[in-house]
Each structure stands twice: as structure tokens, then as C-alpha cells.
């Protein structure tokens, strides 16, 4: 049952990634593009964790945490650039 649910969840997040890619390519504003990248980060973390459950290995956690860190910082960096024209003032 878990294997089935796992496959379902991986499928859902994979489709979600495709939707994000579509939004990234055809977006009305820059904010939408940043938002699409940010959502992709969330979905990638979910995929990493799901892969970790599938392979039953404990090392995927570090990748997920680092991805969460870099994703957050890059989103804030992009937004800050749009707001101020520079990232570090």
C-alpha cells in the first residue's frame, strides 16, 4: 500500500513540476517567474524526500535541507533585486 501511495505522490509532484515549468516559460510578470521557481524548489524537496523513502536511505535529508536553504535565499535575492535594483546594499 505504501509503495502504491509513494508512486502516486511521486507522479503528483512530477506533474506539478511540469506545471511549474509551463508557468516559468509563459508568465505574465517577473514575480510569477520567481514564484514558479520557488514552487519548483518546494516540489523538488518533496521529490528528494519521496526518493529517500523509496530507497530507504537516510542521506537524502541533507540534500533536502540544503535545497530548502538555497531555494529560500535565491527567492529572497530575486525579489530583493526586483524591489531595489541590487541585492546587497
Amino acid at each position: 500500500m505504501i509503495a502504491l501511495a509513494l508512486t502516486f505522490a511521486i507522479g503528483c509532484f512530477a506533474v506539478a513540476m511540469l506545471l511549474n515549468l509551463w508557468r516559468l516559460a509563459f508568465a505574465a510578470t517577473h514575480t510569477d517567474r520567481i514564484l514558479a521557481v520557488d514552487t519548483m524548489v518546494v516540489n523538488v524537496i518533496a521529490l528528494i524526500v519521496l526518493y529517500g523513502i523509496k530507497t530507504a536511505s537516510g542521506i537524502n535529508f541533507e540534500a533536502a535541507l540544503l535545497f530548502a536553504f538555497t531555494g529560500f535565499v535565491s527567492t529572497i535575492g530575486f525579489a530583493k533585486y526586483l524591489l531595489r535594483g541590487s541585492i546587497i546594499e
Binding site: 514564484l35 520557488d38 535529508f61 535541507l65
Partner: protein
Amino acid sequence: MIGAGLDILIAALLVLGGVFGLVGSYGLLRLKGAMQRLHAPTKASTVGLGAVLMASAIGAGSTQEILVTLFIFLTAPLTALYLAKTLLHRHITPAELPTAAGGADWAAQSPAQPPVAQKD
């Protein structure tokens, strides 16, 4: 018996997480207004990821997933706030916004932002 119950819980969390992740990304495509689109990922995707992480934590009996969940839940409002500020800055005129109590400007649109005094 307990093992079967745990299995059901993990499977339910995984399915719930997948559905919410998909809904968040679908909302990003479907909603019409730029401000509306901010709502979908901050809530649906975050909760979807939270459910997946909880499933992983229960399944593997590890506590590290709680850290990732905590981080995601703490940073999602910040990301949303910054993106909303960029929208306010670039695409929304002050006329579209309601006035603040006391008639002050909104911070992102006030012409000069005096530094907030640091109290000791």
C-alpha cells in the same frame, strides 16, 4: 495491528501530500490575478510538502524531517511577503489599495523610508 495502522497513516499522508502539491502548482496556472497566484503555493504546496515530510519522519522514525518542515513553514510567509512587495512595487498603484489606519503610507510605496529607530 499497529504496524498496519502506521502503514495506512503513512500512505494517507503521502497521498494527501501529492494532491496538495499538485493543487498548489495547478493554482499557480489557473488563478487569474497576480496577487491571487501568490496564495496557491504558499499554502497548498507548503502543506503538501509538510505531509510528505511527516510521512517520511514516521516511516523512517527520524527527527530530521521535522527540521525541514520547520524551516519550510517559517520561510514560506517570508517568501510570500517579499513577492507580494515586488507586486506592490511594480504593478499596483496606491489608488488600488485601501488606506491605512491613521492615513499613513504603506511601507513599500512610501517615497522615503526612514530607518526604524533601534531601541536599546
